[in-house]
């Protein structure tokens, strides 16, 4: 069965985006940062279908839609929908496609967004599919790096914590391949960067160095410090967890030797991996990073609906 999705503008992943395409979307995000409130989606309905809860991502997407003048429908908990009665994803997507111009979806199953994009007559935006992809998070990470460093080129990027299961660090690593980065992977042995991503680095000539220690000396040359949470439930050996759990915690004392341009990122929510005294540092950037998510998502919503950067720049209506 063929659908009418003539030009599928869905955003499922940015893993295959070209350098030009990434920079184009970042430029568009920059326009929205200058002026977040616009009427570009005034006649549109945006559906946010959250088959698993993710308050942060949903609020960010819904705010983006609202600031663009769209109306928002959707659900935040599949327990109240027909999915719990056994309705297939396909049926839900086809039904909602009748109402909305664009579907933002979060799903606990991997590949759900890809499949939805193949059957839906309207564009799909992947707001996370299981452990697979979360492209809007990657876009806001890239935008945060670009904005704070003035460039994406030739940066020293330190990824800290759970590098084994951390979806955001994997996507970031892949998206950065165009920009000649040097990565430092700082993780306990049990949660170190998987071989497939190290292989990916080799195939794309991405430089990387692995560390298990996390000290002020290790991070002295960092431009970006990307912190993630080391979760107890990820360990098979709880003795190992007890031994390393306090190793990957960033405190303000560790920032003394760091570069002035260093910025600390974290996909949030934070638990204890960044102590609260770091929040006072001008190098702490994780809350602004979340705010950048709004601009990145405004750009994504416009792009999937075929609104171009030139049109955004030309837009002067309030």
């Amino acid at each position: 069965m063929k659908t009418v999705n003539m030009e599928n503008r869905s955003l499922v992943t940015i893993a295959n985006h070209s350098k030009e395409r990434i920079l184009y979307l970042l430029e568009m995000a920059k326009e929205f940062e200058k002026k977040p409130n616009r009427r570009l989606l005034a006649e549109k309905v945006v559906a946010t279908l959250f088959f698993e809860p993710s308050t942060r991502t949903r609020l960010s997407f819904e705010t983006a839609a609202n600031r663009l003048g769209a109306r928002v429908i959707g659900f935040t908990d599949p327990k109240v929908t027909s999915s719990s009665k056994g309705e297939t994803l396909k049926d839900t997507i086809m039904m909602v496609s009748n109402y909305a111009d664009i579907i933002v979806m979060r799903h606990y199953l991997e590949g759900a967004a890809r499949y939805a994009s193949e059957i839906a007559p309207v564009p799909i935006v992947n707001a996370g599919d299981g452990a697979n992809q979360h492209p809007s998070q990657t876009m806001l990470d890239l935008y945060s790096i670009y904005k704070t460093q003035g460039t994406l080129e030739n940066l020293n990027i330190y990824l800290v914590g759970d590098l084994k299961y951390g979806r955001t660090v994997h996507s970031l690593l892949m998206a950065m391949r165009h920009f000649n980065p040097t990565f430092h992977f700082i993780a306990p042995t049990e949660l170190k960067m998987p071989e497939e991503y190290k292989l990916y680095c080799k195939e794309h000539s991405i430089k990387y160095i692995e560390h298990t220690d996390f000290t002020e000396d290790t991070i002295a040359d960092a431009d970006i410090l990307y912190m993630t949470r080391v979760q107890r439930e990820r360990f098979t050996d709880l003795m190992e967890y007890e031994r390393v759990k306090d190793t990957y915690i960033l405190n303000s004392r560790m920032l003394e030797k760091t570069r002035p341009n260093l910025r600390i990122l974290h996909p949030l929510p934070r638990v204890n991996e960044i102590t609260y005294d770091v929040d006072e540092s001008p190098k702490a950037y994780y809350f602004q990073q979340a705010q950048n998510g709004l601009y990145a998502r405004e750009a994504i919503l416009c792009d999937v609906l075929g609104i171009t950067l030139d049109e955004v720049r030309a837009d002067t209506n309030r």
């Binding site: 991997e110 759900a112 499949y115």
Partner: protein
């Protein structure tokens, strides 16, 4: 030579002989080629002696010639099978199975959290490395070796 052994089963005037099928895969091959729904003469033999395989199966199908796409499905279960195309009792062409670039609806994804295992839909794999038999699920993007995955 080997022609003689084939004659032990039955001579074929026109059609296809599929040889060197590992015995434990014979009925999988029968099902993949959907022989159940063919109405020409079909001879299926199994557990014949084979120097290479120990035991092997043979299928002879009269008046039927498979496209490369049809036989490429066999690459997952029996990559070393040989096809002899017979016309007027002579072998006019020998074909080997080649792994296709994509596998649709043939194998099951290993990832229990993959959408294909939870929704009534066709599976779809991209073949990354034909020699190693490395496949990548089009949906969940997990790479897996064909030896570890199950047929649908």
């Amino acid at each position: 030579m080997s022609d003689k052994k084939e004659l032990q089963v039955a001579a074929l005037k026109n059609g296809t002989v599929i040889d060197h099928i590992p015995s434990d895969r014979l009925f999988t091959v029968v099902s993949l080629l959907d022989l159940k729904h063919m109405d020409t003469n079909i001879t299926i033999g199994n557990n014949f002696e084979s120097k290479k395989l120990g035991k092997k199966g043979i299928i002879k199908i009269a008046d039927r010639f498979f496209t490369d796409e049809e036989i490429s499905k066999l690459s997952v279960v029996a990559p070393n099978v040989k096809l002899n195309i017979i016309r007027d009792y002579e072998v006019v062409e020998k074909k080997q199975v080649v792994m296709p670039d994509e596998l649709k609806g043939i194998v099951k994804c290993n990832n229990p959290k993959c959408i294909t295992n939870n929704e009534p839909m066709q599976t779809w794999f991209h073949v990354i490395d034909k020699e190693k038999g490395l496949l990548k699920c089009h949906y969940c993007e997990k790479e897996q070796l064909k030896d570890n995955i199950k047929l649908l």
